[in-house]
């Protein structure tokens, strides 16, 4: 008994942490039920292969009051009648010179049999073949439940093979149709994110394409509606919270589930159109690269001009500065357009509180600039006021995460190519991390790790560069990024960190200077094409770079 208890507890914990969770099978079961009903409609209505009717309006069988012997008597009379007719036809045909030959008849009969059997064969599955008998006809099933804890199963009396319900007229089974492809253009991957996967829309189905029948009707349930990935939770976010921070469901009628059972792609958990998410101060990204911090519940959608998020409950912060498409935040018919801007938006009893943090947002036909706030209701936009010190202390702002614009972790090698240094593998222990990985490394008194971005990178307001590195024998470090328009570097000198230890360096791009004039910082919008971290030091000096990340922190004008 203890073994059974242990087993149950183990399974429960596995489910609670999201490793093995019950799937939502409702759609699949309903589709299979519809298919079986359709299948019944084309099966013979009597004889050995008859399939019992599956759907009755009530729970009572209508065949039981009819005595079997009556049908047997009728069967004998019918059989004699048929025999007579067949004999008569055979006599006529044998005397008709234009009658088909025996071979023709056999071929025709074979073809007829094949045609008749065709629809049923479509639904035969390997699983069914494996089973010794059809569960529909021979399986012992329990009877109706008694109001007890565990009713004992009893055999259902076998249904006489020759007593079959007549087919009833039925509504045609609705075959699920794929939804039409959304017309929204999928956001393109940002050029400054060489390693990030673009949103993967499912391949377009040609119009009128017919789905091929599959072998197993258990898996051929319903074509997945075309999904548009609207947002994703990055790996560091879902790993950080481990359990329960985010809950997701695929529609409002589904149950909430932990995100840990969802498939990960390149470490990301993608959230699709129509899905709902709730979290307490969790961060995620829209597929256009915009950062979303959420304390509440939302539903994801696409929009003809970008992406839309229905704020069902509570607050969110969205940073959509310089993204490739607009983010619309809606709530009970109200709409806030976050174009090149960042804002905190709060829902409260049919109203939206809007606080523009950066750039500008529009609502109710008016623009709200950074440092201003307003309230939107079905009566329109309220007056626009300057924010107060208290507004800046909103929890979503004080705990605001850095928005990742791009990362290079040398696994695989930079898509733009290495300029100096080579890629080497390091164990988790060598990296001081949980997993093995790759680093870019170079040796010597003027060692440097440098690589080109996969396409030029245009800088944003509040942008920072972060680097994890380790050096040995270095006296000075120089970080610089090349600007092709000026044919010069922006950079800064750095005091090397502790010898032989991993350090994380974070520098605002506004702190970089033109390496020639030592004066100008790169203004937002500067195009940069490469990164370099170089040292000057001993002949046996070494530099290792684990990753380089470009992030944006909203600049608050407090």
């Amino acid at each position: 008994m203890n073994d059974e208890r242990d087993r149950l507890e183990d399974l429960n914990i596995e489910e609670a942490v999201g490793r093995s969770t019950p799937p939502d099978l409702a759609e699949r079961i309903l589709a299979a039920a519809g298919k079986r009903e359709l299948d019944d409609a084309v099966t013979p209505i009597s004889g050995r292969h008859a399939v019992p009717r599956t759907h009755r309006p009530t729970g009572r069988r209508m065949t039981s009051p009819i005595a079997r012997k009556n049908w047997q008597g009728a069967g004998v009379v019918t059989a004699f009648a048929l025999l007579f007719v067949v004999g008569l036809i055979a006599f006529i045909l044998l005397n008709d010179p234009s009658a088909p030959t025996e071979q023709d008849t056999a071929e025709t009969q074979e073809k007829t049999d094949q045609d008749r059997n065709q629809p049923r064969q479509r639904f035969e599955t390997p699983t069914k073949k494996r089973e010794p008998s059809s569960p529909d006809s021979n399986e012992e099933q329990p009877t109706q439940p008694a109001p007890t804890d565990e009713p004992e199963p009893e055999s259902e009396p076998d249904k006489p093979e020759d007593v079959v319900d007549q087919p009833e007229p039925r509504a045609p089974v609705e075959e699920p149709q794929p939804e039409p492809r959304d017309t929204v253009k999928e956001p393109e991957p940002e050029p400054e994110q060489p390693k990030e996967e673009p949103v993967k829309p499912e391949p377009e189905q040609p119009k009128g394409a017919v789905e091929q029948p599959k072998d197993d009707d258990k898996t051929e349930v319903k074509p997945e509606p075309k999904k548009v990935a609207v947002a994703y939770i990055p790996e560091d976010a879902w790993r950080k919270y481990e359990f329960g921070r985010y809950s997701v469901r695929r529609s409002a009628s589904d149950e909430w589930n932990s995100i840990h059972g969802l498939e990960k792609e390149m470490g990301r958990i993608w959230l699709y159109e129509g899905w709902q998410l709730k979290t307490g101060t969790g961060e995620l990204y829209f597929s256009n690269g915009a950062l979303l911090q959420l304390d509440g519940e939302v539903e994801f959608h696409t929009h003809t001009r970008g992406l839309r998020i229905e704020l069902i409950d509570d607050d969110l912060y969205v940073d959509n500065v310089a993204s490739s498409s607009t983010v619309f935040v809606t709530h009970e018919g109200l709409e806030v357009e976050v174009g090149n801007g960042a804002a905190v938006i709060e829902s409260s009893s049919g109203k939206l509180g809007i606080f523009c943090v950066d750039g500008q947002v529009s609502a109710g036909g008016k623009l709200i600039a950074a440092g201003h706030k307003a309230s939107l209701s079905n009566r329109g936009l309220s007056s626009i006021n300057e924010v107060t010190r208290r507004d800046w202390s909103h929890p979503l702002l004080t705990g605001a995460r850095l928005r990742q614009l791009g990362i290079e972790d040398f696994d695989p090698a930079p898509l733009g190519g290495m300029i100096s240094g080579k890629i080497e593998t390091r164990t988790a222990e060598q990296l001081g991390l949980d997993d093995d990985g790759h680093v870019a490394v170079d040796n010597g008194g003027s060692a440097s790790v440098a690589f080109r971005f996969d396409g030029d990178h245009e800088t944003l307001r509040g942008e920072k560069v972060r680097v994890r590195y380790r050096v040995k024998g270095a006296k000075k470090l120089i970080l610089q990024m090349f600007c092709p328009a000026r044919n010069d570097n922006f950079g800064t000198d750095i005091v090397p960190g502790k010898e032989g230890e991993w350090n994380v360096l974070e520098i605002a791009l506004s702190d970089l200077r033109n390496r020639e004039t030592h004066k100008d910082a790169p203004p937002p919008g500067t195009v940069l094409s490469s990164f370099a971290l170089a040292l000057t030091g001993q002949d046996d000096a070494q530099i290792e770079v684990d990753w380089v990340e470009l992030v944006r922190e909203a600049e608050f004008e407090k």
Partner: protein, 168 residues
Amino acid sequence: MATDHRQELEELVRAHQRGVWRYLRYIGAGNAEADDLTQETFLTVWKQPFEQYDQKATAAYLRQVAKNKFLMLLRAQKRRPEVNDLDAATQLFSEFARDDGGDAHMLALTGCIEALQGKAKQVVRIYYYEGHSRASAATEMQMTEEGIKTLLRRVKDALRECVERKLK
């Protein structure tokens, strides 16, 4: 499928699918098998409509059908059941599942796991979420295998008490 009947089936599935699936997993079905057998269970009862007295009786009836389906599968595959005493296991499961298929229990358990700290939390992540063996978890946590076994036992005891407290 007639709309009313479809709705009845949908309501039945939505109310009981998790309980049936959990039961099938518990008595030894794999994830994919549990998916298929849950489907077969509902299709079978849909073909042979029955009166629903209450949620608990319906859940018990569905479990019985599911058990038969699973036993048929085992026979067909010449497999032996992983659970030695199916009746005792079924009784234990019905205590766990109550009348909601175990949803309340799972909700409480999730809350208890979230509240874990330190090594207890770490071992749950490594052993149950990442699926490491005890030996592998021992290496990961720099403990002996026996130490992991003891830690897991303590964590399960603590979780059991926590869940019982929450369900009271």
